[in-house]
C-alpha cells in the first residue's frame, strides 16, 4: 500500500516528465543560454518540489510551473542589470547561432536562407523588448498560449497582455520592415 508521500512523489515525477521540456524551452528562449536555461529549469522544479504540498490545483500544474519559471527569469534579468559588475560573464549564444536552428524540411536552400534571415530579425527584435514584453511575446508566439492563460501565468490583466503583445509585434514588424 503506497503512502500519501509516495503518491505525491509519483505525481510530481509525472509532472516533471510532462512539463520539463516546455519549461526548458521557455527559459532557453528567454535567456538564449543553454547552460543557464538548464540551471533555471532545475531551480524551477526544485522550488515546485518544495511547494508541491501547498499546490492546491487551483490552476493547472503547467500554469503554476510557468509562473515559477517567469519569476526565476525575471530575477535573473534583474540581478544581471543591477549587478552587472558581478555577473559580466554570459554564455548567451549570438543571434546568428540562435537563428541556425531551422529544420531543413523540403524547402530550397534559398528559402532556408530567407527563413534564417527572418528568424534572425525576430531574435533582434526580441532582444530589444522589455522583460515583460519579451515574456508575453514568447508565451504567445513560441509556446502558443491563449491570452487568458498568459494573463494567469504572468499575473497581468488580459488588457495589459494585449498591450505588451501589440508593442512587441510592432518591434518585430519594424525589424522586418527594415529588410523590405
Amino acid at each position: 500500500m503506497a503512502t500519501a508521500q509516495e503518491i505525491a512523489a509519483e505525481e510530481f515525477s509525472a509532472v516533471v516528465t510532462k512539463h520539463r521540456p516546455q519549461i526548458f524551452r521557455f527559459l532557453l528562449s528567454s535567456t538564449r543560454d543553454i547552460e543557464l536555461a538548464e540551471t533555471l529549469t532545475q531551480e524551477c522544479f526544485l522550488k515546485a518540489h518544495r511547494n508541491w504540498a501547498s499546490f492546491r490545483g487551483e490552476s493547472s500544474a503547467m500554469t503554476w510551473l510557468m509562473r515559477i519559471a517567469i519569476n526565476l527569469q525575471k530575477d535573473y534579468w534583474r540581478n544581471r542589470r543591477m549587478q552587472f559588475w558581478r555577473q559580466t560573464r554570459t554564455n548567451s549564444v549570438d543571434l546568428n547561432e540562435a537563428s541556425e536552428w531551422l529544420p531543413s524540411g523540403e524547402s530550397s536552400a534559398e528559402q532556408q536562407m530567407l527563413a534564417k534571415e527572418r528568424v534572425g530579425q525576430v531574435w533582434k527584435a526580441v532582444e530589444g523588448l522589455s522583460e515583460r514584453q519579451r515574456t508575453v511575446f514568447l508565451l504567445r508566439y513560441v509556446e502558443e498560449q491563449e491570452l487568458s492563460e498568459i494573463a494567469r501565468q504572468t499575473g497581468l490583466s488580459e488588457g495589459t497582455v494585449k498591450a505588451h503583445l501589440s508593442r512587441a509585434l510592432g518591434r518585430v514588424r519594424a525589424e522586418l520592415g527594415g529588410r523590405r
Partner: protein
Amino acid sequence: MNQEQSREQDPEQDAELAQALGDFRVSLHAWSAAAYSGPRVMGVARKRVWRQAAGWALGCALVAGGVSAGGVYEHRQREMKIAAAQATAEHERQAAAQRAQLAREEEEDLLAKVDSEVSREVPSAMEPLAQLMAEDETR
C-alpha cells in the same frame, strides 16, 4: 488607424510577419529539442568541473609563483645587504691602514727632525777630550 491596430494584434493579416513568427517558433522548438535531448547536463557539469579545476590550478600557480618570486626577491635583498656591509668594512679597513701609515710616516719625520736638530757635531776644541773619553771606555 483601426485597421493598423488590428494588424498589430493579429499577425495573420500580415503574411510576412506570420511567416517570420512561424519560422521563429519552429527554429526555437528545434533548438530547444536538440539542447534538451543532448547530453547537456553531464557536459555542463564536466565543463564546470574543468573550469573550476583550471581556475584552481591557475590560482595555485600564481600563488606559488608569487611566493617563490617573493622568496627570490628577499634572498637577493639579503645578499645585496651582506655585499654592501662587506664593501663598507673593507673600505673602512683600508682607510684605517692608510691612516696608520700616515701616522707612522709623520712619526718618522718628527724623529728625523728631532735627531737632526738635537744631535750636533763635537766642536774641534773639544776633540782631545772626546778622544780621552773614548779611550776610558775601551779600557
